[in-house]
C-alpha cells in the first residue's frame, strides 16, 4: 500500500498508577475506515484511546500518525489531524454552545489569529449536523447530558480532522441520537474513525472492522462477521449469545441469552 497509514501503534504499552494497563497493543487504521473497539469494562479501551491522543505518555512502544512517531509532532499539528470525543464533560465552567464548538477551531488558528466568518460558518454547519443549531447561543451548562454530547461532537466535526477518536460516544444518548451520531461520523468522507463502544451490535452495525480488547491486549481484529462470534462474546463478556445476520445491513448482530461463569 502506497498511501500513508493514518494511525498505527506498535507494541504500545501504558502504565497508570504503577499498573501496566496496555500490554503491547498493535493497531492499524486505514484511510476512511470505521473501527469499532469493543471489550469489557476495564480492558483498557479508554487508556488506549487516551494514549493515542497523547493524553497519557506510553511506557513503551509508539504511536504513528501518518507514518510519523507521535512524539515528533507539534501538539497543534496533531490536533489538526486527530480530534477526540472523550468521556469528560467538564464541571466547573460555562460557555455558550457556539463557543464550545469554536474551541474545535483552535488547532487551525492558534492563540492569536482571529477566527473569521468561515470559522463561524464551519461551526454552525457542525451544529446543524448534530441538530443543535437552535442552541448556538444557549449556555452549555444548561443542556441535558445528550445535548452536551451532541455539542461536543459538533466541536469534533468543526475540528475537521482526518482521524477521529470516540470514547463511548453513545453514552447519555437515546437510541435515535446514538444512530444519528454514528451515522454522521460514518458519512464523513475519507475520515478514519476509531470508536470504543459498549454496544457490540452498534459496533458491528457501523464498523468496517472490529477490534476486541481484553486485559490490555487486542484479542481479535477483523471484519465484524469474523470477530462477532459466540465464542468471542463468551471470552470477552462471559455471556452466552446467538449471532444472527441482519437481513438489511448484512451485519452480524448478537442476541444475548444469559450470563455464564468464567470457564
Amino acid at each position: 500500500m502506497e498511501r500513508k497509514v493514518p494511525i498505527r501503534t506498535e507494541k504500545l504499552r501504558c502504565r497508570l498508577g504503577g499498573r501496566e494497563i496496555l500490554h503491547g497493543v498493535e493497531l492499524l487504521g486505514r484511510k476512511g475506515e470505521f473501527i469499532g473497539l469493543i471489550g469489557p469494562n476495564g480492558c483498557g479501551k479508554t487508556t488506549l484511546l487516551r494514549t493515542i491522543a497523547r493524553v497519557y505518555r506510553p511506557s513503551g512502544g509508539a504511536v504513528y500518525l501518518d507514518g510519523r512517531a507521535l512524539a515528533d509532532w507539534d501538539t497543534r499539528a496533531i490536533a489538526r489531524r486527530m480530534a477526540v470525543l472523550g468521556q469528560e464533560r467538564g464541571a466547573s465552567f460555562d460557555f455558550p454552545v457556539l463557543e464550545m464548538v469554536r474551541m474545535g477551531r483552535y488547532a487551525h488558528h492558534g492563540p492569536l489569529r482571529p477566527m473569521g466568518e468561515a470559522d463561524d460558518r464551519c461551526c454552525m454547519r457542525a451544529l446543524a449536523q448534530v441538530g443543535m443549531q437552535a442552541f448556538a447561543r444557549r449556555s452549555f451548562a444548561s443542556l441535558s447530558g445528550g445535548e452536551k454530547q451532541r455539542v461536543l461532537l459538533a466541536a469534533v466535526l468543526a475540528q475537521q480532522t482526518e482521524l477521529i477518536l470516540l470514547d463511548e460516544p453513545t453514552n447519555h444518548l437515546d437510541i435515535g441520537y446514538q444512530l444519528m451520531l454514528l451515522e454522521r461520523v460514518r458519512q464523513l468522507p475519507d475520515v478514519t474513525v476509531l470508536a470504543s463502544l459498549h454496544d457490540v451490535n452498534l459496533a458491528a452495525r457501523y464498523g468496517d472492522r472490529l477490534l476486541a480488547m481484553l486485559d490490555g491486549r487486542i484479542v481479535a481484529d477483523g471484519p465484524p462477521e469474523a470477530v462477532l462470534t459466540p465464542a468471542l462474546l463468551r471470552q470477552l463478556f462471559r455471556v452466552e449469545a446467538r449471532v444472527e445476520r441482519d437481513p438489511d445491513s448484512g451485519r452480524p448482530q448478537a442476541v444475548f441469552l444469559r450470563h455464564c461463569q468464567a470457564d
Partner: protein, 349 residues
C-alpha cells in the same frame, strides 16, 4: 445563565468602567484628613501632566503636595494592584479549574510576603540590585505557587484539597514572615507584621509606580494573548491537549505570570486579600468565562474595587487610615464562604 453581550455593548461597558475609574479616583483624592475640591484636583493633575500652569493656581500650595505627592501615587497604585490581583486570580482559577483559587486564599501572597521580608533582612540579592525586595517577593510567590499546585494537584484539584493546602501554606508562610520580623532589628515590629499580613497603601510614593504599572500592564497583556488556550484549559487537561494546547507550557506560563503579579504587588502593599476572588467572579457573571473579554473587564473592575476599598479604609477611621486589606477581607471573606457554600458553582454561571 450565560451572558451574550454584543461587542459594542462590551466596549461600552469598558468605557463606562474607565469613566467610573476616573470619577472614583477623583473622589478618592479629594477625601482624606483634608478635604479638597474635586475641581482643584482635576486642575492640579492636569497642570502636573502638562508640565505647566494650564489653570491659574488658585489653591494653597499645600494642596498641590497633598494631591500630587501624597494621594495621587496611592490612587494609581490602588488601580494597578486591584487590576493585577484580579488578573492573578483569573490565572490561578484557570490553572486549577477552580473558581475559589486566589493568590491570597492559596497562600501565594503570604509566600510573597515571606520572600520580601527575607530579601529585606538578608540584604540585596545579587543581579537584581535595587529590585531585590520585589525579586524576593516574586521568589516567595513562585515557591508558594509551586508548592500549592504540587501538593493539591493542579488541574484536578478538588476544592477542599486546594483550599486546605492553601490555608496550611498561608499559615506556614505567615509564621515565617512573623518569625523573620520578630528576629529582625526592626523597631516597629507589630506594624510591620500587620503590613505584610493585611496590606496597606500607606507607604506608596511615585518612585514605586513605574514598576507596578509595567508589571501590571505586561501581565494583563500576556494573559490576554494567552486567553484562548486558557479557555481550553478550563475544559480539562485531556480535552485541552486534544484540542491542540501545549498544556505543560501553558501551566508554566500561568504560574510564572501569577507569581510575578502577586509578588510585585505584595512587595509594594503587602498581602491584600480576596480581590482576585471577588472581582473575577462578578466579572464572570457579567461576561461569561471566555478570557478574552473577562480579563480586560476584570482588570478595570479590580481597579475600581480597590480604589473604593482604599476610600473606605480612609473614611472608616478618620483621621486614622485602616490597612486596606482589612476592608477587602471584610467584603471578600464572607463572599468566599458563600461561594464555598454553593456546592455546584460553575465558571460563568
Amino acid at each position: 445563565m450565560c451572558s451574550h453581550w454584543t461587542r459594542s455593548r462590551y466596549l461600552l461597558f469598558c468605557l463606562a468602567m474607565v469613566l467610573l475609574l476616573g470619577a472614583v479616583a477623583l473622589l478618592a483624592i479629594s477625601l482624606g484628613a483634608v478635604d479638597l475640591k474635586p475641581a482643584w484636583i482635576l486642575q492640579i493633575v492636569l497642570n502636573k501632566l502638562a508640565g505647566r500652569d494650564l489653570f491659574p493656581p488658585v489653591w494653597p500650595d499645600s494642596a498641590v503636595s497633598i494631591v500630587w505627592e501624597l494621594r495621587m501615587p496611592k490612587v494609581v497604585a490602588a488601580v494597578c494592584i486591584g487590576a493585577a490581583l484580579s488578573v492573578a486570580g483569573i490565572l490561578m482559577q484557570a490553572l486549577t479549574r477552580n473558581p475559589l483559587a486566589d493568590p491570597y486564599v492559596l497562600g501565594i501572597s503570604s509566600g510573597a510576603s515571606a520572600g520580601a521580608v527575607a530579601a529585606m533582612l538578608f540584604g540585596g540579592l545579587p543581579l537584581v540590585g535595587r529590585f531585590s525586595l520585589q525579586a524576593g517577593a516574586f521568589g516567595g510567590a513562585l515557591l508558594a505557587s509551586l508548592l500549592v499546585f504540587l501538593l493539591a494537584g493542579a488541574g484536578r484539584a478538588d476544592t477542599t484539597r486546594l483550599v486546605l493546602t492553601g490555608m496550611a501554606l498561608a499559615a506556614v508562610f505567615q509564621a515565617l514572615t512573623n518569625l523573620l520580623i520578630f528576629l529582625s532589628p526592626d523597631s516597629r515590629k507589630v506594624s510591620s507584621a500587620l503590613f505584610w499580613m493585611t496590606g496597606s497603601l500607606g507607604g506608596v510614593t511615585w518612585a514605586d509606580i513605574p514598576l507596578v504599572c509595567t508589571v501590571g500592564l505586561t501581565g494583563l497583556l500576556t494573559a490576554i494573548l494567552a486567553s484562548r488556550p486558557m479557555d481550553l484549559l478550563l475544559m480539562g487537561e485531556a480535552r485541552a491537549i486534544t484540542l491542540g494546547v501545549e498544556t505543560v507550557r501553558l501551566r508554566r506560563l500561568l504560574i510564572l505570570l501569577g507569581s510575578l503579579l502577586t509578588g510585585v504587588m505584595v512587595s509594594l502593599a503587602g498581602a491584600i486579600g480576596f480581590v482576585g476572588l471577588v472581582v473575577p467572579h462578578v466579572a464572570r457573571t457579567l461576561f461569561g468565562a471566555a478570557h478574552r473579554r473577562l480579563l480586560p473587564a476584570a482588570a478595570l473592575m479590580g481597579g475600581v474595587f480597590l480604589l473604593l476599598a482604599d476610600m473606605l479604609a480612609r473614611m472608616l477611621a478618620r483621621p486614622e487610615e485602616l490597612p486596606i486589606g482589612i476592608v477587602t477581607a471584610l467584603c471578600g471573606a464572607p463572599f468566599f464562604l458563600w461561594l464555598l457554600h454553593k456546592s455546584r458553582y460553575r465558571f460563568g454561571e
